[in-house]
Symmetry: none
DNA sequence: TACTAATCGAGACGGTACGTCGTGTCTTGAC
DNA sequence: GTCAAGACACGACGTACCGTCTCGATTAGTA
């Protein structure tokens, strides 16, 4: 029901993904590194993408803790810091970025990515529920939109623009989404908090 | 200084990229489709990524018009609608998404992606300047953050979550970023508020 | 330990060698003709020369029977006729000549040629032993010199001079080496035989 | 009527032939080494073989002096020593052996080889005429057979057997051909007999 | 000295074959 | 039931030369 050296295989896959990137990751390489015959891998996974799919699902490197800081602002900030860490700090970043990038080209990995974000989002729900209870969030506000804005900004900045995330990036992003960037002179702009006011 | 059938080659590359995706795009395929010998392509581009780099730079499909609707909200909305179109409407979407996804795995394409976004951002500057002149934008607001939030959200929603962009998505995203999503019950006047209304 | 279609491959190699000559013989051609993939050939032979080396060693076309006519003169004559046949009668001649010619340019084939002649020479030893026992050959006579003179003459005449071997060529060559061509008026010159007399 | 750098081209061709052998000699290599454009060579010679043909004809390295020692034995010995030198002493040997070997695979070079030996043979005629006048050679003796035996033996020994030519080789070969190797114990007077002594 | 051939360099090209890597499949025999 | 070992067809890789072509630039020699 499962290959005897499953863990070796998956670890080898992740390590090679981090080292070489998705394109230059080969089944043969995984087989060699994990001390397994090539045919064994093909017996259990139909493709490179499927193998990686399993590897990513079982990797705890990509997990995260749901923060509970007492304020929506604090929770989002913590969440975004975690994501920023995941996308910028090796070796997890190498794995995460390569896998998410490869998802574009592979339906199987796309499915994994979809699941990854769906799972994250599901686990983030309590944050928004608590925020609503605290009156920090309008009932009509759309949590997924908030997360897409924030997480998307980090991805775009880090991967596509290839710019470093300066110290305050995550905080400013959270503030922008919570408070808005329009209306100059508005006393709510550009400050930390007033959460709930 | 340039291959005689440069346009044929680049068009073939883009077409095959759209049809097959980055991984299954081969130089030999491009050569055959463009009626050129394989060696001719290698004479001019050292790699698949380099070839695609050129093709993408010269592709007008990926260009965009800078809107000027009279309001920041309108401009951003138009901008985001354009990006949403680019990432969802074939065949441009196939090209754009595959290329941006591949950028993760290839330094050369990453450079192209960087240039793509840098160029877009440069051309978007007037929108923010006009907005500041109109008093729609605080001096302290960070235009790149705005764009990262908005464009990132579209990317994440479309590519990673693989969810359709419903009708009001771009508008709600713009509103969220301009007005903020916090402060429930806050009666904002003067615009068709949705996200935080 | 051996390719499944070894014989097909070697036969194809010899056939193409005969048809096209060494230079225009290609591994891809052998692969196609033998119904095998190119990589299979490369798995077993590192080069065209190595492949041919094997093919030639295993080819019985290049074998010969050691004659035993009862006289040294007769044996040498038979031997030389056999060699003349090998170098002039297609398709064996095409193979043999092409291979020996190519040996000059390839250490691997040179080794094969060396082995070919060494093997022949070893098998020719009984001829000379019998001749010595019969008193037809001086103890001091050098068998390899005899064979070099005779075989070399055929090679040079056929391949380098490209002249046909007229009917009596081999006989005259043997007579010349056994009896010498000097001393005009010597009753032993220019006649058939007196072997042992 | 002739390329401006003809000599450079031919010298480059011979040098590369000696260095790399016939197979690995390329027109492009000759062009580069001779400081000439590839097309210039193609303008004047239709093929590698044709180029080499010209180069060999114009090479004085391959010439020889007709000896006149006063005896057939001496002349043949000198002749054979010269040939042995040509086939064993670099760099002339590299050129001569490679060219003669390649002749097998190329009609054009075969023609050159034919001419080479025909020319040599024509120039050797006086040796045999003088020998006949001196009574050293039977009228019925065949000079070309003598030369084929001798030259062929050297070629075979050096190229095919890849054995070194020991000191007395040429002398013993000449003696064998002039005196014959048969008839043990036959008391031949008047010369330093070795082969059949 | 100018002109007018002949000759050349440069650059590009279609094409064949090279030798290699990785894919995904299959069979056999061991554990 | 799981696996290693090994062989394989196949597709593509990136490279080396082939032989050809066009187009200007040089050279000569000769008018």
């Amino acid at each position: 029901m499962a290959p005897r050296k499953k863990d070796d295989i998956l670890n080898a896959a992740l390590r090679l993904l981090a080292e070489k990137g998705y394109e230059r990751l080969t089944i043969e390489g995984v087989a060699e590194l994990s001390g397994v015959n090539k045919t064994t891998i093909y017996r259990w996974w139909p493709s490179k993408a499927a193998l990686l799919g399993t590897a990513l699902v079982e990797a705890q490197e990509l997990g995260f803790d749901v923060p509970d800081t007492g304020s929506l602002r604090g929770d989002l900030h913590a969440l975004l810091d975690g994501l920023a860490w995941l996308l910028t700090t090796p070796p997890a970043a190498d794995i995460a970025v390569a896998a998410l990038g490869a998802a574009v080209n592979s339906p199987e990995l796309a499915e994994a990515a979809k699941g990854f974000f769906a799972d994250r989002f599901a686990r983030e729900q309590p944050i928004f529920e608590r925020a609503r209870e605290r009156g920090e969030l309008a009932d009509s506000a759309d949590p997924m939109m908030i997360m897409d804005l924030l997480a998307g900004a980090v991805w775009l900045r880090v991967v596509f623009r290839q710019l470093p995330l300066d110290d305050g990036f995550t905080e400013r992003a959270v503030n922008a989404v919570l408070d808005g960037v329009g209306r100059p002179g508005d006393p709510r702009a550009g400050r930390p908090a007033r959460a709930g006011g």
